[in-house]
Symmetry: C2
Subunit: 489 residues, 2 copies
């Protein structure tokens, strides 16, 4: 008792304690880096220290981190980065002329011709123009570079738009509609900003399709306590791997228009489409083709260099396109970004590499195309492999991985395992994931981190381990699962 | 009237309008990139389009953006960046072995040995350890790498700590004590987070010294409406250029301890000391030497690659050291950062270059030392030049630039000019700054952007234009000022 007293005394010496800090920090959760991942890190250290385990390495299938899993960077992008960093390389014969040309254009767009200068808050103008050209070409619709903001990965762009809608309306907390399951950046940010999350379920039985009656249900039920302001759609989906059809996007746009919801289209996986019948449609292009009044709707879409075939997560490159926003509101958005000065120039250069790659006839073209295809082909192969393998597991229900970088299988967890989980004060799927980690070294994220229908259990795995690694992983997984089922059935 | 009606109709079609977005976005101001700077950008475009002006270029003395003003990057840092980006350069004989060694250490610390992987949210461990070694050596006091967070410039670190203390206490809004004048990131963030700014005046008559009675006054007066939680000290000062004495720091630490304020020490200019009698003391080292209970106080300090002799603003590198924080609170801080994944690896590499430079005997050492000295010597020369020149202007009151990168002179603005400003609905110092910009192309920031005593007028200029440029600038400034005084006296 005296020790607890002196503990309290020590704690009361501190300026900050759990009961007087920002309560939203306590509320927020980000499962992709939660307790399972922390434990995986500990296990890695234990292995290094020579602790004996039934495996010799941790396989990090928890996070969409391409290079960490052995994906090779695209040479063109890395050369462009190196040239803008060390300009003596302009004299090197090892760097192709088309890359030099592009590096020169970027440096000419920097104050003092150095990537060491702060850029405009929205990014280097010439790169914003390159993005606008890329989007215009992709969509067959006009794109104004002034609608483009370069961001350090997609995350800060998403956060600044969510922060913009963070205002009580009619005394009610603002609500943000997000899919269930969702990418946890959304739930974490909504918590951090003290907004209300309005979840709408994706239909697992129809390959995670997004259905309008469910959107209406979620919207209407939330109205008592919340003023819904924004609708988040992730397409292709994380963690679900679904790709929306064009008809579906039309319906979603009509829904958002009807209810005056700001549409946030998270399209970071737009280059990751694997299913033969799936195709990526941008919300921008569909709204444009629908004509008035949809063409004039406010729409924010997000893109990243972390995904696709670049997989440059650590560099932190991304952009958002913000269209049809009231100019005064847009000025406020811009102002809010200026205080943080600018996003990293390395990320901005990576965005340039994404949207303005080598063109046919240029010296880097063939290698660029070959490297890009190699990455995308391997992802496609692995998307199919993961689907097929999990589909053969007892008690697994798994949808085709149409796009993105994940599978999100449902597991029927036997009652005895549910009881064992309860005894450990764990959600059943978290229990499953911990058992898997401790006995195989495979790190996945349990479904509760993304959201799932009550009483169902899932996990998310990436499809990123290199194919030979992935095969080993799936073998181990299969053995583990069979034993788990035997033990708890 | 019908047009205003249809305007309203159009506006009401929008999801977002000024009256339903985050009100804090409307409140916040960031003068370093405010209307003067926007006008400077327009003038640059006008000059490009051939519009005739009494000058042929804009001199951007508004922002501490070193490379933009012609400062050269440090070769060692850029080589380190290029090597980590394009690993084929390891085969190049043009890259010295000590740089290769350092690049190898960093890559070995990255998942998949690629800077394209996400890092731990707090940054690459090996670089955090390098930072800890650097601080320990600087301070002669222990430093634990687990207290180090790598951040994208100092700004995001500052914002996350301010966000942490953002909790109402006893029903009162949290208050943050900041100097007047201050660096506007603080006022902007305090607005954005709906906290209260508690300003304490620096004493202009004593070279912007920080005085305890004034801290007490500000603290006590704020208590009616506010719960002060944190105290920000900028040392060396921006915009003031003052360097605190050790005695002064001792007193500030005692004050913070007495009132249980979280100390935020913004020490990004620690390498920028020019006055012969000035020396940089870190808050950490002073608190450590003071012994208990000060040694156990919570303290956050911030550092950046944007300032000092690197001047790498665009790369976005920085770190914060957070000591003595309650472990549970620190866990919440870490958690809040994880959702944004990580800071850019390019910035992390730049931090490594800052804290682990070439050592005596290594191949890059001589060049590194020479380049570093060249930058610092030039800054010192310009600090003196700016002080001496402004000191000779009629109606100017200017303090010695002891450190950092700015001068913040007071101008006695004649009543006629004040009237002219009023007629234009402008603050008198903003009026002065606009007149200067339009007639000379020199872009400075008026004192109101930083805060100043009522009835006094200031502006901030950087000392960053290269010395020949700076001389031209000061000449033009002198002519302008003489004419301004003639016109309005
Ligand atoms: C759907 C989705 N949106 C956004 C992001 C953010 O990634 P980044 O900030 O690296 O661009 C991710 C990352 O996994 C994601 O899956
Ligand atoms: C006092 C002070 N703190 C922090 C910063 C933030 O700079 P950065 O985010 O580039 O590190 C600045 C930039 O000018 C500054 O002057």
């Amino acid at each position: 008792m005296s020790s607890s007293k002196s503990n309290n005394a020590a704690a009361s010496e501190k300026c900050l304690s759990l009961d007087n800090i920002n309560p939203q920090f306590i509320e927020l959760e980000y499962a992709v880096r939660g307790p399972l991942v922390i434990r995986a890190g500990q296990i890695e250290k234990e292995l290094q220290q020579g602790v004996k385990k039934p495996f010799d390495q941790v396989i990090r299938a928890n996070i969409g981190d391409c290079h960490a899993m052995g994906q090779k960077p695209i040479t063109f992008l890395r050369q462009l980065l190196a040239l803008t960093m060390d300009t003596t390389l302009f004299d090197s014969p090892d760097y192709p002329e088309d890359v030099k040309k592009r590096a020169r254009i970027i440096l000419d767009g920097c104050q003092g011709q150095s990537v060491g200068s702060y850029t405009d808050s929205a990014g280097i103008e010439v790169i914003r123009r390159q993005v606008a050209d890329f989007i215009a070409k992709r969509d067959g619709a006009p794109c104004n570079y002034e609608d483009i903001y370069l961001t350090g990965g997609a995350s800060p762009g998403i956060k600044s738009i969510l922060s913009l809608v963070r205002a009580k309306v009619n005394g009610k907390r603002p609500g943000v509609m997000v899919p269930i399951p969702q990418y946890p950046l959304y739930s974490a940010t909504i918590s951090e900003y003290a907004m209300n999350r309005v979840g709408y379920y994706l239909n697992e039985d129809k390959n995670w399709s997004l259905e309008i009656p469910e959107l209406e249900r979620a919207f209407n039920e939330s109205r008592k306590t919340t003023e819904p302001r924004a609708l988040v759609v992730i397409n292709p989906g994380n963690p679900t791997g679904q790709v929306l059809t064009r008809e579906n996007i039309v319906d979603v746009i009509k829904f958002a228009h009807k209810h005056k919801l700001l549409l946030l289209a998270d399209e970071v996986y737009q280059a990751n489409i694997y299913a033969p019948n799936s195709k990526f449609y941008s919300f921008k292009s569909v709204a444009y083709e629908m004509g008035s009044p949809y063409r004039e709707m406010e729409l924010c879409s997000f893109m990243s260099t972390s995904k696709g075939y670049l997989g440059e997560c650590g560099i932190r490159g991304g952009y958002m396109e913000v269209i049809n926003m009231c100019p005064q509101v847009k000025a406020m958005l811009t102002k809010s970004i200026t205080a943080s000065l600018c996003s990293t120039t390395a990320g901005q250069v990576a965005v340039s590499a994404l949207v303005y790659p080598p063109e046919k006839g240029e010296p880097s073209y063939e290698q660029y195309i070959a490297e890009k295809a190699a990455v995308l082909d391997a992802l496609k192969e692995r998307a199919e492999l993961v689907y097929k393998t999990f589909n053969s597991f007892e008690g697994f229900k798994v949808n085709v991985v149409q796009g993105a970088m994940y599978a999100f299988p449902q597991i029927i967890i036997p009652p005895k395992a549910i009881a064992a989980a309860k005894a450990k004060n764990m959600a059943p799927d978290t229990f499953y994931a911990f058992e898997l980690l401790e006995s195989t070294g495979i790190c996945i994220v349990s479904g509760s981190g993304f959201g799932q229908r009550e009483g169902t259990y899932h996990f998310r795995t990436t499809i990123l381990p290199q194919t030979d690694q992935l095969k080993i992983m799936l073998d181990k997984f299969q053995t583990f699962h069979a034993e788990f089922m035997k033990k708890y059935k």
